[in-house]
């Protein structure tokens, strides 16, 4: 028996549900030393900004229990250099490519999205976990209206589906999800890293040069599964890319059952550069072993405890 790994919901259609999380796969070429990147459902690249960015000083990372904090500062070559140097390689390799974009203002996001028009990009993911310089540095993703403004601007100029990447730091993530879908988002990526901090107890020194950083890894997985479930319950027609602490095939299945159409592996690739390919093959084997004909059939099949057979 061969199982069908293909998934499709709304405007999101992938050969298999395993994608990479932005910022965890660089430009794709680094991991091609280990696996064939075209075997992944989609490569989501590191966030692109209007101009090149060198990012923050070090230390940029600290390991925490079952996770890690990072504060990189969106180091990237800028959208123009990426279009000229990195995208052709991904497209020639046959990779489905999702360009993550970031900015400090609505205008920044729209500028980058406009540069991607007519390129070989298959979709755009909007990284809304950026400070909005025009609104006292308030992170877009925390505010439904600011998030909707960005998505509306991007969706207006984009010629491919637009995914909005949201944050569990928002007080009401379902409200943000509704706002961005109304503004034109074709899908949602849930969730970005969770804001955190670590302090050296002896020296009192804050571990990251930036002070605060994004927590990723298995430590945040239950939060991500909860958010996917909440948003899927509220907006069942909207395709969701579940993201947060995926390490095993069982984690992937959890996200699918919570309502994700695709599942991103992020920090998992740091630990195991083969992870995306291993999870793709492992998912096929798992589905077959448990008698499921397709990955798509599992989406949103979580049942309340008392109703479980």
């Amino acid at each position: 028996m061969s199982v069908d790994l293909g998934v499709r919901r709304g405007r999101l259609a992938l050969d298999n549900p395993i994608v990479t999380a932005s910022g965890c796969f660089a430009s794709g070429q680094e991991i091609d030393r280990f696996i064939d990147v075209d075997r992944i459902g989609a490569v989501v690249v590191k966030s692109l900004t209007r101009a090149p960015r060198e990012g923050l000083p070090t230390p940029r990372m600290v390991e925490t229990p079952s996770g890690m904090l990072n504060a990189i500062g969106l180091q990237n070559p800028g959208v123009d250099a990426w279009l000229a140097e990195d995208l052709p390689w991904l497209a020639d390799r046959g990779a489905t490519t999702i360009a993550s974009i970031a900015g400090d203002s609505v205008d920044d996001f729209v500028h980058v999205a406009r540069r991607l028009r007519g390129s070989r990009v298959d979709a755009i993911e909007v990284n809304l976990s950026c400070p909005n310089v025009e609104h006292r540095g308030l992170v877009f993703a925390l505010d439904p209206r600011a998030s909707a403004e960005v998505i509306q601007g991007v969706a207006r100029v984009a010629d491919v589906p637009v995914l909005a990447k949201l944050s569990a730091d928002a007080s009401d993530v379902v409200a943000v999800a509704r706002a961005v879908v109304e503004a034109g988002a074709s899908g949602l990526t849930l969730i970005n890293t969770v804001l955190g901090m670590a302090i050296d107890p002896v020296s009192g020194r804050i571990q990251l040069a930036n002070g605060y950083g994004g927590l990723s890894g298995p430590a945040i997985r239950p939060i991500a599964v909860r958010v996917v479930h909440q948003v899927h319950t509220a907006l069942p027609e909207v395709p969701i890319v579940g993201c947060g602490g995926v390490r095993s095939v069982e984690d992937v299945v959890q996200f699918l059952r919570a309502g994700a159409t695709a599942v991103a592996v992020g920090t998992g690739t740091f630990v195991d550069p083969f992870a995306a390919a291993t999870l793709r093959d492992g998912l096929a084997a798992w589905l077959e072993r448990h008698g499921h004909a397709s990955a798509a059939a599992l989406v949103g099949t979580a049942v309340p405890r008392r109703a479980a057979p």
Binding site: R33, E54, Q75, F270, D272, P273
Partner: protein
């Protein structure tokens, strides 16, 4: 890890150069001072490794997630396609404690070799090798490789105390001269490795300096090398999550040929970099010769080590291992 590796199991692109994932069996384990030295049957990784490269080792300590980057301290081929590598494990942290506690026949999941190795001289050269703490391990390995290729090796090994001095019989044999320094004078000369560099350079007519150790030491060594007019290659250490070029946590500020400082990933553009191009000031480290201004006068050494490109690297060029 999805699935444990068997001893000798190899995953990855065996058909081309580059890093592989292997199940490496522990064949020997010994203690030297506060360090543990592991000898692992690393198969093709031993064959592919060069001095200056590192491996990423999976650890199984509670609550830890990330692999640990460790310099290859020695590679020995025991047959075609088989061989061992040595890793020197430091004394601090949960990962090191776990690694220090592994037993013979345990299988370690490692990925490597990673990073750019030390560039070797392109003509017969006199090489000064400077190692600090357990950073001396790759210097021992480099000493053997350089001596085997017919180069002169003057080795300087420093540590805080005699107990922390890393010693190697193989390196001692390979080196023309060996000088120890300790901060407290308990062995060798009292003081820092940089205190003896000028005398060693005069005695050995040094052409090029190689160094590995704590970043503060590398900054100081780069400064002294610049003041002596010597090219210097350093193996740098920065907190690293992935080791394979995708997380961007391990960056180092490096001045490019354009004079502009860029953040380079020490895992993929390094860990070996031109010490004269590293912006030690930006890292909060003083370079004895005046940091970037002093470094600007230091020679790149491209005529000696044949890679004037170190420190002026392409943005994303994950090349082969060696």
């Amino acid at each position: 890890m999805s699935g444990r590796l068997r001893a000798g199991q190899v995953e990855g692109r065996t058909d081309r150069d580059g890093p592989l994932r292997v199940g490496a069996e522990v064949v020997a384990r010994r203690r030297t001072g506060p360090y543990a030295v592991l000898t692992l049957a690393a198969g093709p990784v031993a064959q592919r490794a060069r001095p200056g490269q590192f491996v990423e080792v999976a650890v199984d300590a509670p609550g830890t997630l990330l692999r640990r980057p460790l310099s290859v301290a020695r590679a020995a081929l025991t047959g075609s396609g088989v061989g061992t590598i040595d890793l020197v494990v430091g004394a601090e942290g949960a990962g090191s404690a776990w690694l220090g506690g592994v037993a013979a026949h345990d299988v370690i999941d490692l990925i490597g070799p990673l990073g750019r190795p030390f560039p070797l001289p392109v003509r017969p050269a006199s090489c000064m090798l400077v190692g600090g703490g357990y950073g001396a391990a790759p210097m021992h390995y480099l000493a053997e490789v350089l001596a085997a290729a017919g180069h002169r090796v003057d080795l300087i090994v420093g540590a805080a105390t005699e107990e922390q001095l890393l010693r190697s019989m193989e390196a001692k044999r390979a080196a023309t001269s060996l000088q120890f320094t300790t901060d407290d004078g308990s062995a060798g000369a009292r003081g820092r490795v940089t205190d003896v560099m000028a005398a060693v350079a005069t005695r050995g007519s040094t052409d090029v300096v190689y160094a590995c150790g704590p970043n503060a030491m590398l900054a100081a060594v780069s400064g002294v090398a610049a003041s002596l007019g010597l090219p210097v290659r350093v193996s740098i250490e920065e907190r690293m999550a992935c080791g394979v070029g995708v997380c961007f946590t391990c960056v180092v500020p490096v001045r490019g040929r354009d004079g502009v400082v860029h953040h380079r990933r020490s895992c993929i553009d390094g860990p070996v970099l031109d010490g004269a191009r590293v912006d030690w000031d930006a890292m909060g480290l003083a370079s004895a010769a005046g940091g970037a201004s002093g470094a600007a006068t230091a020679p790149s050494g491209g005529d000696v080590v044949g890679d004037g490109d170190t420190g002026d690297l392409p943005g994303a060029a994950p090349g082969g291992a060696a």
